[in-house]
């Protein structure tokens, strides 16, 4: 198991390096001049040129890239041109928000999607399957910003049972930083009321984000359960008298999960990219908003670091998925 983790971590390095090259090239291909934007409208060309030189932007691209790599290798992810803060600090504030949202969405998608898919598979072609099919197709087809606004209108404005936006209401103090996940941090701080408060804020954005993923997971689980049901061992389990309920929910489902779990790892990428829209709509102070404003002002260091961070999150989640898979399927564990 440790070997597996080590190997996956080792594999991560070239992947992240590739990601860095890609993002570096992409950000520089666009003819945007961070120096001019930074200097402000009052600056003269000479002043802009001076800033450009200070930032090293007048160097050839490959020199800039090597410099950047050296900088990253020494653990320095640079400073934002605007906030003057180390990018790491910005990330430390914003990444947990995105992770909390993505995790909650993932949890939701798994907890809803898997049973939904399993039920659809067991009641294949029945009315429940049809309803679930409509839901899953709908879940994939609905644009998330539209969904977000609808949820806000209904649950926050009309029914007034869920907060409109934000991680907490204005004036509610953030919890002491432990994990960065508010719900958990409030709990660890022993404040049950605020943990609940943060949890309610999490509902609408995570539902919005989870919807398409729930649909995907449900579809995957459905086809995977249907496939598993054809297996010889299911016939055996039936023939030796396993109760149907035990067979389905314990044995068949576990086998089907193997494929679904892989999917969950891939879906996490969807959560991260989807969070850009969802964070904007729900005023969720995560990476999406940060990345967006950094891109529009050509603030390269945050762009690079954020992309890298997202890459790392994605890779780590997929390593975790592999571990879970190894837990579910002993054959996987042995292959490593």
């Amino acid at each position: 198991m440790l070997a597996l983790i080590l190997r996956r971590l080792a594999l991560m390095i070239p992947v992240l390096l590739g990601l860095l090259v890609l993002v570096f090239v992409l950000t520089r291909i666009v003819p945007a001049d961070p120096a001019a934007v930074l200097a402000g409208e009052q600056a003269s060309p000479e002043q802009v040129a001076a800033i450009r030189a200070t930032l090293g932007l007048d160097r050839p691209l490959h020199v800039q890239f090597v410099r950047y790599l050296v900088q990253v290798a020494s653990g320095d992810f640079g400073t934002s041109l605007y906030t003057h803060r180390p990018v790491v600090q910005d990330l430390a504030e914003r990444m947990p928000a995105t992770i909390e949202l993505a995790l909650a969405s993932m949890l939701l998608a798994i907890l809803v999607g898997i049973p939904l898919g399993a039920v659809a598979a067991v009641r294949r072609n029945g009315w429940l399957d049809q309803i679930i099919r409509v839901f899953t197709i709908g879940g994939l087809a609905v644009a998330s910003f539209w969904m977000a606004i609808m949820l806000q209108l209904v649950f926050s404005m009309q029914l007034d049972i869920l907060p409109l936006r934000g991680r907490v209401d204005a004036g509610v103090p953030a919890p002491p930083f432990l994990t960065g996940l508010y719900v958990i941090d409030y709990l660890l701080a022993g404040n049950l009321a605020l943990a609940r408060h943060a949890l309610w804020h999490l509902v609408l954005p995570s539902v919005t984000l989870a919807l398409p993923a729930t649909a995907t997971i449900a579809r995957f689980t459905r086809s995977s359960v249907i496939e598993t049901l054809q297996k010889d061992f299911v016939a055996w389990e039936r023939a030796v008298g396993y109760p149907r309920r035990v067979m389905l929910w314990k044995y068949v489902l576990r086998n089907s999960l193997s494929a679904t779990v892989t999917q969950v790892g891939l879906l996490f990428g969807l959560f991260l990219s989807g969070s850009i829209v969802v964070e904007a709509v729900f005023g969720w102070p995560g990476l999406g908003d940060y990345l967006f404003s950094a891109i529009t002002t050509a603030d390269y260091q945050p762009v690079m670091a954020t992309t890298l961070a997202i890459g790392v999150i994605y890779a780590v989640v997929n390593i975790m998925v592999d571990l879970v898979q190894a837990r579910i399927d002993p054959r996987v564990a042995e292959q490593r």
Binding site: K231, D232, F233, A235, W236, E237, R238, A239, V240, G241, Y242, P243, R244, V246, Y251, R254, N255, S258, I328, D329, P330, R331, E334
Partner: protein
């Protein structure tokens, strides 16, 4: 069909059972008034080529036919109970795994790869531990399983429980499955081609083991196979099926030494091992969607007569000893000398 007076009630009897599966192309009559009997302590070989209905019959006995299957006619008695009268839940609760043990065809695929052997086998104990067992606890099940593992010659039986199916060889897996079948003290073992996927030397070992266990535990065994060689080694009785119909049944000696049904005879002659001249059967097994009328073998039968297509399928006992029954126009002639189940 009446029972011959002296014969003891068989452990399992299937009479005139038909199974129809509704497919998109129409109803497929995969079993057509098939009959079978397994007496106490008998090892009955159920022989036929693929598509002859052996597996369907096994599924019908175990009550695990697919949902789109129906049984429009026939009777199935097991230990005197009418199996057709039991619903799915009752079958799962009282028959499968408890009174009837099952050994599947491919030991490589029959166990769930994600759970240890112990978990899977004790699940059977959990739901089917015999009522008369002194201790029905999980620990008792475990102890019994370890005993059984020892009995079927699985090395390190205690550790074996914690292992996953893929950590066993093919032969060992089949031994595990045999132990599973025996776990809750069944009276009948249904083995569905349990050695087809194995190498010959392994097959030989499994057959020896089965014969031994059947003797020691006084079990009845329904042994499904396509191989007359295996039948001749293991079984006491044989039932031959073709295209969903029972064509011939009797003691091994009677059927193998002097097959009366043209299909049985042809099938025996197909074995290259017989050293005799090899003779194939022209044509192939018909589709159950559009089977020939009457005796389903008649289009391929070298001795077919005009009446074969019209003749209703019916197993008729032949006179003499050992008991021998035939589903053929040739057997119809002697008249009702003694009908056999």
């Amino acid at each position: 069909m009446s029972m011959p007076a002296p014969a003891p009630a068989p452990m399992l009897s299937v009479d005139d059972l038909s199974v129809v599966i509704d497919t998109p192309e129409g109803p497929a009559r995969v079993l057509d008034r098939a009959s079978l009997a397994v007496g106490a302590g008998e090892i009955v070989g159920l022989v036929g080529e693929s598509g002859c209905g052996k597996s369907t019959l096994v599924k019908a006995i175990l009550g695990v036919l697919p949902p789109n299957a129906r049984m429009p006619e026939g009777r199935m008695l097991f230990e005197g109970r009418d199996l057709l009268a039991l619903d799915e839940a009752a079958l799962a609760r009282e028959v499968r795994g408890r009174r009837i043990g099952f050994i599947p065809q491919d030991p490589a695929l029959a166990l769930n790869p994600m759970f240890t052997v112990g978990t899977q086998l004790l699940e059977i104990w959990r739901w089917h531990a015999p009522e008369n067992a002194p201790d029905r606890s999980r620990a008792a099940g475990r102890a019994r399983l370890i005993d059984l593992f020892r009995r079927v010659q699985i090395p390190d039986p205690e550790q074996a429980l914690a292992r996953y199916p893929h950590q066993f060889s093919g032969g060992q897996r089949q031994r595990v499955l045999i132990a599973a079948a025996l776990l809750c003290g069944p009276r009948l073992i249904v083995a569905d081609e349990p050695t087809t996927a194995l190498d010959v030397t392994t097959q030989q070992q499994i057959l020896s083991l089965l014969a031994e266990l059947a003797r020691d535990f006084a079990l009845s065994v329904l042994f499904v196979t396509h191989d007359f060689g295996v039948v001749s080694q293991l079984c006491s009785h044989v039932t031959v099926m073709y295209a969903g119909q029972t064509v011939e049944t009797g003691t091994k000696r009677a059927v193998l030494a002097a097959p009366r049904h043209p299909y049985s005879a042809a099938l025996v002659a197909c074995h290259p091992d017989r050293m005799a001249d090899l003779a194939g059967i022209p044509g192939s097994v018909p589709s159950p969607l559009a089977p020939p009328s009457g005796c389903r073998f008649h289009p391929r039968c070298p001795e077919a007569r005009p009446g074969c297509a019209a003749r209703p399928t019916r197993l008729v006992a032949l006179a003499g000893d050992p008991p021998h029954a035939l589903n053929c126009i040739m057997a119809d002639a002697p008249g009702p000398a003694g009908a056999l189940p």
